[in-house]
């Protein structure tokens, strides 16, 4: 328990006086270790710890809590602030409004398409899913089954390219009175220029109101590399963290936020289509700190 570990460091500090530089430095070493074990990126952890150090130094030692609790509260608040600032809901404003899902292989996009469809259908929208993954075996069939499970129409065409399918889906929406389309795209590597350019072309030609970067919640140090590249190519609007029903600490949440400054809009917490939650920065902070 982090508070106990830190209290040991502070065990000679009385209830008055200020948190000294040595006390803070020692306790932050321990906090840095906790963050790294939680999969926060190495460089991100350094930047974060330096920011907290400034905050903690010279703070009067409070009587009502132990110095360990005091430091943890500073850390917790700072984590919450960073991950929670400029919260923004998904933009719904076109006709149809377009949400484009992007991310690495296996991160949970196709499943998320169904979840988002259901989420917005429950809120009075009439969504459509576009099966724009033309690579993965049975990907279109997978989205078709997903669509059936959440009773949402799916636009697909095994003979077409991703951009055509997206544009056909938009036409379908306008023709049939649907106000929202969600593009499911193929998983791809951030270093695959051809595949990243495919996404860029879809963005340029269809101008989605919302581009979401879908990342696996158990991603480790590499989270910053992929997020940064997707940001450079697409300037996405928000992030969705998936598979958060596991016991991964989720340090990727802090890493991705700090490196892209984009808000985490949802977390996916299971394989069922109602397993989608709005992101709670406080809960994420507690989870990361263990």
């Amino acid at each position: 328990e982090l508070t106990d570990k830190l209290d040991l460091i502070f065990k000679n500090l009385k209830g008055h006086g200020k948190l000294s530089e040595k006390n803070v430095a020692d306790s932050l070493k321990e906090v840095r270790r906790v963050l790294l074990e939680a999969d926060v990126n190495y460089k991100v952890a350094k930047v974060f710890i330096n920011a907290v150090q400034q905050r903690a130094l010279g703070q009067k030692v409070l009587r009502s809590v132990t110095p360990g609790q005091q430091i943890v509260k500073i850390i917790h608040d700072e984590l919450t602030n960073i991950m929670g600032k400029s919260e923004a809901p998904v933009t719904i404003s076109g006709s149809p409004s377009i949400i484009m899902l992007t991310g690495l292989q296996g991160s949970g996009k196709t499943t998320l398409a169904g979840k988002l469809g259901l989420f917005f259908a429950k809120r009075g929208h009439k969504p459509v899913l576009a099966a724009a993954d033309t690579y993965r075996p049975a990907a279109m069939r997978q989205l078709e089954v997903v669509g059936q499970k959440v009773s949402i129409p799916v636009v697909l065409d095994p003979a077409k390219k991703a951009l055509d399918i997206c544009q056909n889906a938009i036409k379908y929406c306008r023709k049939n009175g649907h106000d929202l389309v969600i593009f499911d795209t193929a998983g791809r590597l951030h270093i695959d220029k051809q595949m990243m350019d495919e996404l860029l072309q879809i963005k340029k030609k269809t101008k989605p109101q919302e581009i979401l970067y879908v990342a696996d919640g158990m991603t480790g140090q590499d989270a910053v590399n992929t997020a940064r590249e997707f940001l450079n190519w697409l300037d996405f609007d928000g992030v969705v963290l998936t598979k958060m029903d596991g016991d991964a600490r989720g340090g990727a949440a802090l890493s991705v936020r700090m490196v892209t400054d984009k808000p985490i809009k949802f977390i996916s917490t299971g394989e069922k289509f109602d397993a989608l939650e709005k992101f709670h920065p406080q809960r994420m902070a507690s989870r990361i700190l263990g």
Partner: protein
């Protein structure tokens, strides 16, 4: 003039960063650096290049500590007296199990073995269709049932077919599942029991498919899957990305499970035998 100590401190700091950034984990990295520093002082190794060479060889040693050789021999995976040789493929969601099965099937077929696939993921949307396409690509046969069928009974039927068809290799696909879901882990245990009921030593291999982008949670995954059904090897996928997959160091060290193959792409041929030297070099690249 900087002291040798100062120079070494800087070197070990940058080594720490390389290791932690490669997902080797704090405990493993600090422990390895501590051991290496002791050895380096003992042996009087002074030059930086020699220190780096020493740490690399320590890492290669760790990775090979539970393997017969530094390159996994696919042939060794098939003790030819055992027929059918049964491989059960497990892992958390989206790591590349189904894709890896296609690749393994093609690899075994190339060595002249007959291969049968078992579509025992009866849960996920279009999982059966996905594996069918891989069977087609690898030119091997597949046993499947309906979506929603009991996975253990599909596995059972597949093994029966493998035995009656005198097939060399049976590869059983299972649904992705988080190691924290006890009911799903029970389901996996049941699949294993059902295979063993029919053929005493089956499954002969249980390969845990892990995504190279996974962080420290990978160690938990390996622990839980090993505890539930026993894991004989790891396939580390998506190494064609930028993630290094360093979590395998802790898994090999703590659990003694060797890395057998790596996935380096989405095509049929994108599977290689694990090579510890190459893996360590890539970490420092």
């Amino acid at each position: 003039i900087r002291s040798q100590q100062d120079i070494n401190d800087d070197l070990f700091d940058s080594l720490e960063e390389i290791m932690i950034s490669g997902d080797l984990g704090v405990d493993f990295s600090l422990k390895l650096i501590e051991d290496v520093r002791k050895k380096v002082d003992e042996l009087g190794i002074k030059k930086s290049e020699n220190i780096v060479r020493f740490i690399k060889s320590a890492m290669v040693k760790t990775l090979n500590s539970n393997c017969q050789s530094s390159v996994s021999d696919p042939g060794a995976l098939l003790k030819s007296e055992i027929k059918p040789y049964v491989l059960m493929i497990v892992g958390v969601n989206g790591t590349g199990k189904t894709t890896s099965i296609g690749k393994l099937a093609a690899m075994y077929k190339k060595t002249g073995k007959t291969v049968l696939l078992s579509a025992a993921d009866t849960f996920r949307a279009a999982a059966l269709e996905q594996l069918e396409i891989w069977a087609e690509r690898a030119q091997v046969e597949i046993i499947r049932n309906q979506p929603g069928a009991d996975p253990a009974s599909v596995a059972f039927d597949s093994l029966k077919a493998a035995i009656s068809r005198n097939v060399d290799v049976l590869i059983v696909d299972t649904a992705g599942r988080l190691h924290t879901k006890s009911n799903l882990m029970e389901e996996l245990k049941k699949i294993r029991r059902v295979l063993a009921k029919l053929l005493l030593e089956a499954p002969h291999e249980t390969l845990l498919i892990m995504d190279a982008t996974t962080g420290q949670n990978g160690l938990n995954q390996a622990r839980q899957f090993a505890q539930a059904v026993g894991v004989t090897g790891i396939v580390l996928t998506k190494l064609d990305g930028t993630a290094r997959g360093g979590i395998v160091f802790s898994i090999v060290k703590e659990l003694g499970i060797p890395v057998k193959f790596i996935g380096i792409g989405e095509k049929l041929e994108d599977l290689e035998a694990f090579n510890a030297n190459d893996f360590v070099e890539a970490l420092f690249a």
